[in-house]
Symmetry: C2
Subunit: 420 residues, 2 copies
């Protein structure tokens, strides 16, 4: 990393590419030792990191950032401990690199398999969350990738402080510091430049609002992991266990409405509407959930607004939900297929065949039977830490863990075979 | 498919998307029955297809196409039988769709797995090879995808004739004909339009020369499978079995030099150069291979041209090869990493550790020990038919079979679980 005024993205990307060959060759033991020391360095650097974070917070206050934004930006002693713990959890994850899968014998005696390898260089573009800086760097290192981090300008002092801790450990281990690059230039033009480095960067992962993700998608010459929004559906089937349905509805909608895996639309089979909706209306009262109801469901709710097509597209990210009574199973599938964001859809049903059909016919990235949409998360699904989520089908689909930061090459073990 | 003059790409792509939901839900039995009947219809339609192909051939002659191009365009009775046979081979392949992998139990009792699903809509953009039309359609149907085919304008009559056979069978089976769309409009603007349909199309696979692939890559708003060129390397290690090395050299260079998996550069360890190169020079004489030799290897060849850096980048696709003596194992790895096209690299060595190191340190899409680069092909590696080859790491890397036309969604089997 050179000084701000001479920083060249093309140069940084080329150095990252060359460093990616180094990190790709580290053994799991070496990578774990590195990450363990990075966690320790972050804990040990707490005072310095807090002092730099304070600069971001003051600047943010002066700029008039909202309380929510300041809270995302804020680091505290316990939050820094959480970052260090998150890195220690990544140490504990299984390293996918080097695994050979499906080694099979060809008729001519060659053995052919596929070996997991790192992607190369990952660029992360995200907003003002300093914890992403450390966790994304750790996930990339663990999966043998170099990483280029471009966080929100509001977090620049915090991000550079974390980078300093990382670089200090890389130096101690005698490993190229270009494995992790935090871009010091906070101008918007930097993103545009970054997205042109397809010679050096293998994948771009944007994390943030729909605007950022659209901007990156439309301007990138490098493959991008896309996740625009989460319009998650819950379908209460005719054969639903009503109590399970209520629990899953309340949990999905109210536990963390700002999350992309929160429920946004409730579909109810017409034959169970009279049994389910009165209880649902009551269950949603404590969290003061605003209801946008279709004609048939409106009578069950006090003060429900009429649901419009926009409501069925809406990602409220708030205590707000669209409710629709559907004519039957096919109508529920039809509605989901029309309005899906390819994030997460849930059926509540005790009927074996209908549950299986739902799983088969809905091709969103996460499809669930009788479980809360809030489980649609890398940690909850067993991936360990999550680097992002993909709602487009190429390369990865759904929450992405270490595995999604690798690809597979063919390996062939021969003994002199030639082709006829 | 509407008439040429009213054909709308956006409309066709939207119809393909809607049809993709139909083909995604067909069972393996249904898809195999469809493909078996398509193979039969192509055989039965031989006279009609030959008659339409004759129109392409006449037009091609009038346009002054080269003999090689005319040969690629030409269909004959036996070639049509080959197409039908290729489709029957696709029937015999394992259907990946619906497989659930890695179903594991979470601590809260949920079972979480990943199910293979079709990508959706695949667009193929290719040159004047009518066999691609039928085989790509069959691979997409087998993997549950809809397909949009845009072949070279030179093959338009042949492609539309094949499409007619396919559509007739789809109609007999009562299945939406929009599952397979052959674009009747042969203007170049059509490709531009097609590459904008990211709402409907999930993946673009271009097949053809580097120019076509660069054009598609640079103009697409849809993910593209890239395969620019194949500069395949053979490294004869110090501990090589010389006879295996000679066989693999001659096979890799001369058996089909026009293939992307043919050898383009020979690297020889300096300690074996005096033992290997005289025999290599002799072995390459019968095929009249032109040699571009480095300074150290030049004395071993009669009439060798001096190798320039351009030679190390060259994809000759002809009886021509660059030869370089390298200082050691690391120098060989370094040369490959500098000049790789990420296609296929081969080591010939009897030394266990060095062979393993080569596999580990070279991250091209296919890495081989003691086997001919000519095996770098979907059929030879055991994938069955190949829809294309990827030399970029996202989604697929190396030869692509049915599996590469699918993605994986998460499936969660719960029993009322909610998140704390």
């Amino acid at each position: 990393m050179t000084e701000n005024n001479t920083f060249s993205i093309a140069e940084a990307a080329a150095q990252a590419k060359s460093a990616s060959r180094v990190v790709a060759q580290l053994t799991t033991t070496e990578k774990n030792a590195l990450l363990t020391d990075i966690a320790a360095a972050i804990s040990a650097g707490k005072d310095f990191i807090l002092q730099e974070n304070e600069k971001d917070i003051s600047a943010g206050r002066a700029k008039g950032l909202t309380d929510a934004m300041l809270d995302r930006l804020l680091l505290t002693g316990p939050r820094i401990d959480d970052i260090a713990d998150a890195i220690r959890e990544i140490v504990a994850l299984t390293d996918p690199v080097g695994d050979i899968r499906n080694l099979t014998l060809r008729p001519n005696g060659m053995q052919v398999g596929k070996m997991a390898i790192p992607l190369g260089v990952i660029a992360m573009i995200y907003e003002a969350r300093p914890n992403v800086t450390a966790e994304a760097a750790a996930l990339c290192i663990k999966s043998g990738n170099a990483v280029i981090l471009r966080g929100g300008s509001e977090a620049i002092y915090s991000n550079l402080a974390l980078a300093q801790c990382l670089h200090q450990v890389l130096q101690q281990h005698g490993i190229s510091r270009e494995i992790v690059t935090v871009i010091p230039d906070t101008s918007r033009g930097v993103i545009e430049d970054l997205l042109k480095q397809s010679q050096s960067i293998d994948l771009v992962i944007p994390r943030g609002g729909e605007g950022l993700i659209r901007y990156v998608t439309e301007n990138s010459r490098i493959p991008v992991i896309q996740h625009f929004k989460g319009v998650c559906h819950l379908f209460i089937d005719k054969y639903a266990d009503i109590n399970k349905g209520l629990d899953i509805l309340v949990n999905g909608k109210t536990q963390k409405p700002s999350a992309c895996n929160a429920l946004e639309t409730l579909l109810v089979h017409k034959d169970i509407a009279a049994g389910f909706l009165p209880a649902a209306a009551k269950a949603l009262v404590p969290a003061q959930v605003r209801i946008h109801a279709c004609e048939l469901s409106q009578p069950y709710f006090r003060d429900a607004a009429p649901a419009t097509p926009e409501d069925y597209h809406a990602e409220y990210l708030a205590q707000e939900i669209a409710v629709k009574v559907v004519d039957g199973f096919d109508a529920a599938i039809g509605h989901i297929n029309e309005f899906t964001s390819d994030h997460t859809e849930v059926i509540v049903s005790q009927d074996y065949s209908r549950a299986q059909q739902f799983i088969r016919r809905i091709n969103s990235s996460v499809v669930m039977i009788n479980a809360s949409s809030r489980f649609s998360d890398g940690g909850q699904l067993g991936l360990g830490s999550e680097i992002g989520i993909s709602t487009s089908k190429l390369h990865a689909y759904g929450p992405m863990g270490l595995e999604a930061l690798t690809t597979e090459k063919f390996v062939v073990f021969g003994d002199g075979q030639i082709r006829d």
